[in-house]
Symmetry: C2
Subunit: 164 residues, 2 copies
DNA sequence: AACAATTTTATTGCATCCAATTAAATTAAT
DNA sequence: ATTAATTTAATTGGATGCAATAAAATTGTT
């Protein structure tokens, strides 16, 4: 009853939909930063930043990747990856070499030192996970919702000049 | 049967726990960036970046805030907010003045122009929401899980020198 | 009052991120 | 074979984020 009237005299209220607390984007953005911050003390011991860490994660799993493939895995472009990979190379964790068959392609390869770093990192995921105020079930649920969010409309949906 | 043997000859496999796909942090980090990217075309029309947008959201709601309070709302510190607020001031959306009673405190105030910007922003949240590959129910669930994640252990848990 | 501790912003430096542009190599078309 | 289009990295410029430090004002203590 009295739909909205009375609530809102004349002082240009903030529409409900524009309130920070109503947004999905904000907790996503804030959580992401808080989690990265939470990783820092652990990653400092490895000499990695968070972005370098997830890059190494891909390298531990795949050993060799082009910059393009890395970008597809991490959803990052060369503007981010090029300087980051140069730093990982400086630290001796990867090498960067052009492919013989196609000089455009830069192949990133895990070094022995990079491989050994995995051993030092192996305890991190559990420590992080157990420090979250979420149950295992909630973590699984969150994981799947986030991947669902990443899967379709969010990305892609590029220009698409023609019909499907 | 054959628990794990055969899967893994001798070539230092990547432990499962270190795989990118097993992490919660990565989809969180990636989603956050993808969502911000998705906002860009809308926010470009308003002349705002994403961080400026959520700052304006707080200002639309509260009208006046100190930098410290803004930082608490947005989980950002002065290193980020100071230059950002100077830009919002340059664009004429807010003013920045010291409090008379305490010169340390900088009061950020929404201007008329800033207030009017809300009208242009009001359609954005719905457009963003409807472009997500999630149901309303899933969005609510995600929202609550993210806030739960933000609530406790994730932040805070500072040094805590004494007993509770 | 004088000094110490605290609070609040601002500054600095480093590492992303991303859009836009460039450059080099390769492939496709004529 | 040339030229045109495409692909892949690198570069550039603008805006964060954040840790660490500094600076100014205020508050608390003696």
């Amino acid at each position: 009853m009295n739909a909205g009237i009375g609530e809102n005299p004349n002082r240009e209220p903030c529409p409900d939909c524009l309130k920070l607390g109503k947004q999905l984007c904000f907790p996503l953005y804030a959580c992401s930063r808080e989690i990265v911050k939470k990783y820092k003390p652990y990653l400092d011991k490895l000499g990695l930043t968070y972005t370098q860490y997830i890059t190494m994660m891909v390298m531990w799993e795949r050993r060799q990747m082009s910059v393009k493939e890395l970008g597809e895995c991490l959803l990052l472009d060369s503007g981010t990856l090029t300087p980051l990979l140069k730093k990982l190379e400086q630290k001796g964790f990867v090498t960067r070499k052009r492919a013989h068959t196609d000089e455009r392609i830069l192949i990133v390869t895990l070094t022995e030192k990079g491989k050994q770093l995995a051993a030092k990192a192996v305890s991190i995921p559990d420590q992080m996970r157990s420090s979250l105020p979420l149950t295992e079930e909630e973590i699984r649920l969150l994981h799947s919702l986030l991947y669902k969010m990443l899967s379709k409309t969010v990305r892609g949906e590029a220009p698409k000049r023609q019909s499907p």
